[in-house]
Amino acid sequence: MFKEFAKGLSITFKHLLPGHSTTVQYPTVKLKMSDRFRGLHRLVPSQDREKCVACYLCPTVCPAKCITVVSAENEKGEKYPEVYTIDMLRCIFCGYCVEACPVEAIEMTGAYELANYKREDFQFTKQRLLK
């Protein structure tokens, strides 16, 4: 019995010595996210505009129904999204939109600090998603 007590005490004492802490000092030190981490969305730009062709596959597949797309045609006759808004309050970060996209126009970044003060700030418009 006493042997086990001593063993337990020695284990805890070893951890007290410097260099055993596994804590990451979060706001000052940040862990690198995995490449496959599903964070904030990003619309991929091509040369002059976004890659998106407004095919409506992402709002169709979205289980949380958080994507709003309104398609339009530009002067070259290409379809493009006039409105592309993701409601981050509804988004569940499942990544189906990325999977569904036929032209790889949407991807997910490692950004995870999405807290904000106003509900409107969670409406990510095309301009914000292109950044």
């Binding site: 007590f5 337990g8 005490l9 284990i11 805890t12 004492f13 951890h15 007290l16 055993h20 802490s21 596994t22 804590t23 000092q25």
Partner: protein, 355 residues
């Protein structure tokens, strides 16, 4: 001619003045120790659990005790509607006061000369010092029971009942383990017990002092374990077992009243550590009779011993899980009490044979 001992009869003004200074100094030291014991505990346990503990308030969280204090001070004071008001308000005070009052008899250094008088470095030297400490340790349980009863909540009541049963059973063994020390010292005054421990070890070994831990190792172990149970520290923290009783007798308390419970817990730790240091580890005397060691003032040694004991208590808390209630009772009545009794018997026999 050696100067007279300062007392109320030979110089009332000096006596009262010096007494106030002593009270103030001891109170400040104890309160600061309480504050930083919470910080140390969080740090030590944090590191033992491979965390860092408080890091954000000041350098390595050094201002954390003050942040906690200010936070608790500004919290809403909640008195449950169904509680019994007066005892509910009285209970936290009834726990803290006995804890603080016991420090009065702990000596923290040799007599010093102030003006024409000798002044003992001790608030008061009672000739029944240890009885006084045990009496106030026994009073501490009333606060907990009262807190549990007055809250009028089932968890608080269960915590209070557990506390009373636990503290009463362990007080017996604690008292008996100290008796062995008195049988050797033949005095109850803590001042004289420390003086006796400064002599040579068993009268033969001149550089090691005659600490009672060498003659009474079993009594020391028993005292530390029972003391842990008496001040409700892990692994014997049944009265506030948060996994089963929410937080026991202090469930319904908030704000500064809750802070008082915490202060009492750490003040109790300090008192018990100081008592163990005084009875078994030579009090304020140096661990070796060497000039370098004896030059260091007494209160430094006492504080060092107290802080070492407190570190051990935190270490135990980080290591061992809580015991079950029936195990706790069995340990108290079937192991600690017989061992303490046997220790008293053997000590008595040896004392008689050696005479």
């Amino acid at each position: 001619m050696t100067p007279e001992m300062l007392s109320l009869s030979n110089s009332p003004v000096w006596f009262v003045g010096i007494m106030l200074v002593k009270l103030l100094v001891v109170f400040t030291v104890v309160m600061l120790s309480v504050a930083y014991a919470t910080w140390c505990e969080r740090k030590v346990i944090g590191h033992m659990q491979t965390r860092l503990g408080p890091m954000r308030t000041g350098w390595h969280g050094l201002l954390q005790p003050f942040a906690d204090g200010i936070k608790l001070f500004f919290k809403e004071e909640i008195v449950p509607t169904d509680s019994i008001k007066v005892p509910f308000l009285l209970a936290p005070m009834m726990i803290l006061v006995p804890a603080l009052i016991t420090v009065a008899v702990i000596p923290f250094g040799p007599d010093i000369q102030v003006g024409d008088f000798m002044v003992p470095q001790q608030i008061t030297d009672l000739n029944i010092g240890v009885l006084y400490i045990l009496a106030f340790a026994g009073l501490g349980v009333y606060g907990i029971v009262l807190a549990g009863w007055a809250s009028n909540s089932k968890y608080s009541l269960l915590g209070g009942i557990r506390a009373s049963a636990q503290m009463i059973s362990y007080e017996l063994a604690a008292g008996l383990s100290i008796i062995a020390v008195f049988m050797l010292s033949e005095t109850l005054s803590l001042r004289e017990i420390v003086a006796l421990q400064q002599q040579d070890l068993w009268g033969i070994c001149s550089f090691v002092p005659n600490w009672y831990i060498f003659t009474q190792p079993l009594a020391f172990c028993l005292f530390v374990v029972t003391a842990l149970a008496e001040i409700n520290r892990t692994p014997f923290d049944m009265p506030e077992a948060e996994s089963e009783l929410v937080s026991g007798f202090c469930t319904e308390y908030s704000s500064m009243k809750y802070a008082l419970f915490f202060m009492a817990e750490y003040a109790n730790m300090i008192v018990i550590s100081a008592l163990a240091a005084t009875l078994f580890l030579g009090g304020w005397s140096a661990p070796l009779n060497i000039a370098i060691f004896t030059m260091i003032p007494g209160f430094v040694w006492l504080l060092a011993k107290v802080y070492f004991m407190m570190f051990c208590f935190m270490w135990l808390r980080a290591t061992f899980p809580r015991v079950r209630y029936d195990q706790l009772m069995r340990l108290g009545w079937k192991v600690m009490l017989p061992l303490a009794l046997a220790n008293v018997m053997i000590t008595g026999l040896v004392v008689v044979i050696l005479q």
